[in-house]
Symmetry: none
Subunit: 214 residues, 4 copies
């Protein structure tokens, strides 16, 4: 994996072996297959975590041969990256939709819309935690980038929503809001526990007040 065998003294100088990346599928068949592979990857990663998920199971769950999985995602890391990217796209699109309508929203509505972004897709909810917090091979790297980008967008929304907000203020609030969004996912994801529904309601109310009281 990350085992970097130091090269012999004779090594060719630069060459810099380009980091492997996901291959774009060309034909229709390939596109469908990649989608299935990503879905399978998402569910296995969500259920078992990065390390415990096996490439073999992911391929099997997608009904694809293992060789095919490696055709598109040359290693486990690339697949994980692709998953992060796909998830990021969904979430960013959702945030962008909010931004487009931000002037029509009051605090309560904005809070609800933001909270729904991460909570919405039950299927991705569990992956979200894995993607946003889990300890990857190089801890924090991948999740960190994603978090950064999403917070940025939340901050933008806030500044559009309350034009008076200073950049710094918006940034701080975006950190708080984004954490509140993730926390709500956690409240949702945990299996049945007493007071679950009410606690979620409390949490939403809490965030609404945060935005209302600005």
């Amino acid at each position: 994996m990350a085992s970097e065998k130091s090269s012999s003294a004779i090594t060719v100088p630069a060459q810099q072996a380009a980091p492997p990346t996901a291959k774009e599928p060309k034909r229709k068949r390939g596109i469908a297959r990649v989608a299935k592979l990503l879905d399978a990857g998402a569910s296995v990663f969500a259920e078992q975590g990065y390390k415990a998920a096996t490439m073999t199971e992911i391929a099997a769950r997608a009904g694809a041969p293992i060789g095919s999985l490696y055709q598109f995602f040359p290693n486990k890391d690339v697949l994980a990256d692709a998953l992060v990217a796909r998830y990021a796209e969904h979430v960013e699109a959702a945030l962008d939709r909010i931004r487009a309508q931000v002037s029509d929203l009051d605090g309560i509505q904005l809070a609800d819309r933001l909270l729904d972004v991460l909570v919405a897709h039950a299927a991705e909810r569990s992956l979200a935690l894995s993607l946003l917090d889990a300890r990857w091979e190089q801890p924090g790297v991948r999740p960190g980038v994603l978090r950064e980008s999403l917070r940025r967008r939340v901050a933008d929304i806030l500044m559009l929503w309350r034009p008076g907000l200073v950049e710094e203020q918006a940034q701080v609030m975006s950190v708080v809001l984004f954490q509140a969004m993730k926390s709500l996912v956690q409240l949702h994801e945990e299996k049945r526990y007493p007071g679950k529904a009410e606690a979620i309601a409390h949490w939403r109310g809490w965030v609404q007040r945060y935005l209302t009281e600005i």
Copy 2:
């Protein structure tokens, strides 16, 4: 591998192969070693998660041979359980200390005390996330039990603090508060990011208001 040594007919019937448990060290040397092993285990689990953590690295980080690790913790699960137990003890003790003084505290103070419980020990902060949320072999089992017990204590504190509170109300609030406590750890744990200090302050203020406005 569920090694079932079928016993001859003469053997004692159900013998039930007692589930393996951590062995208490007897001598001084052993006590120190177990402490080191637990610390090593805590840091490796915290960094890599349950599955990715290797017993070999844990032993190495404790400066102990692998056999020693297994002397005290007959398998990976038992070590994880011991870690949960040790962490639980610390946190429960901290919560009990709060309960003992609960009548002297106003909302702001109570909020601060509760939030500090999980945030306090920098060393354990990172483990906390692993212990309270991570995907274990049997996902949710171990963390679930711990969460349940800690929420129970928070609920007790609330009922002592505001004798008027109904059990159900306290329960819901304990869920919210406990989630807020975990979230603050996450805010702390994430490496350097813009607005970190202020966001943490916001979060604290938020929780203080939650308790003040009851």
Copy 3:
């Protein structure tokens, strides 16, 4: 470790993790390799017994990497089972051949034919003892089943040979004969010792008389 992946509520209920079985090789290369692995397994088990035999040595002796061995035989038990099955096939076929000709045989001939069944394949002779008597993980289970099935066939042959024989008589005789067959293998297998050839002749004569005197 009886790794129980607890499934979410949505999963197919009883899934019963099918007990691992030997995988049939598909390609020509695989067929040859499996044959080599079985041979290697046979010789190592024969020489060292079940517990002392190591998968590593078996793979090495077959000139195969350890992963290949596990490709076809997902664990040591399955390999042992496959060996038992292969041996059983050979022996059962030999017994069936005798049964087909039983009406043409006198007592002496029948005795010789039966005795040859286990003694015949020098290569498998040694494995026979391991398979028929050795102490396996679950002592007696596997060998027991094999013994039972072989005795059954011997009893059938006897009843076909002497139609007057009562079932019970045939059963008892089959036990005796089968033991005599195994014993002759032992006499053969033991390395050079004084009187070996003559002792084997005695033993054969003894069995011949047992069948002649009915």
Copy 4:
């Protein structure tokens, strides 16, 4: 185990590190303890076979600390040797008793007495198979020596019993008889199977006839 680390170039020349042997217990306490250890060893070896038997379990079953076991038997092999020796003593003594009375016995009686030698002690019966046939680390060595010595004694008995017998004849017969003795143990040891009692009776009758018809 058999791993012989070649000595460094500076090695002291001869020194020949005497092979480890069982230590004779001096005091009464030690004698009792050694007996217990041997009994425990016998039962564990009999149940699990040489390789699967663990020194720890043997010590535990004897109620002795592991260090104590190693005090008397410096390694597993030595313990096994001691067991063989103890078993040999018993059996040799029994054979010697037969020899002392051989002139009073007819063929039937002699057959029964010989057969009883190995079958007699239920406790040791199972160990007998392990000791007389099992595949040890160095296959055949230990059991081979024991077999040889016991056959010798059987041959002696035969020559005393029928003074006319030529040495070679007696030798061959002793091989056959000894195999018959072992086989009867096998017939006894196998758990319940149909026709067990009758088969054992047959076998005895068979051996009786062998001796009667000389």
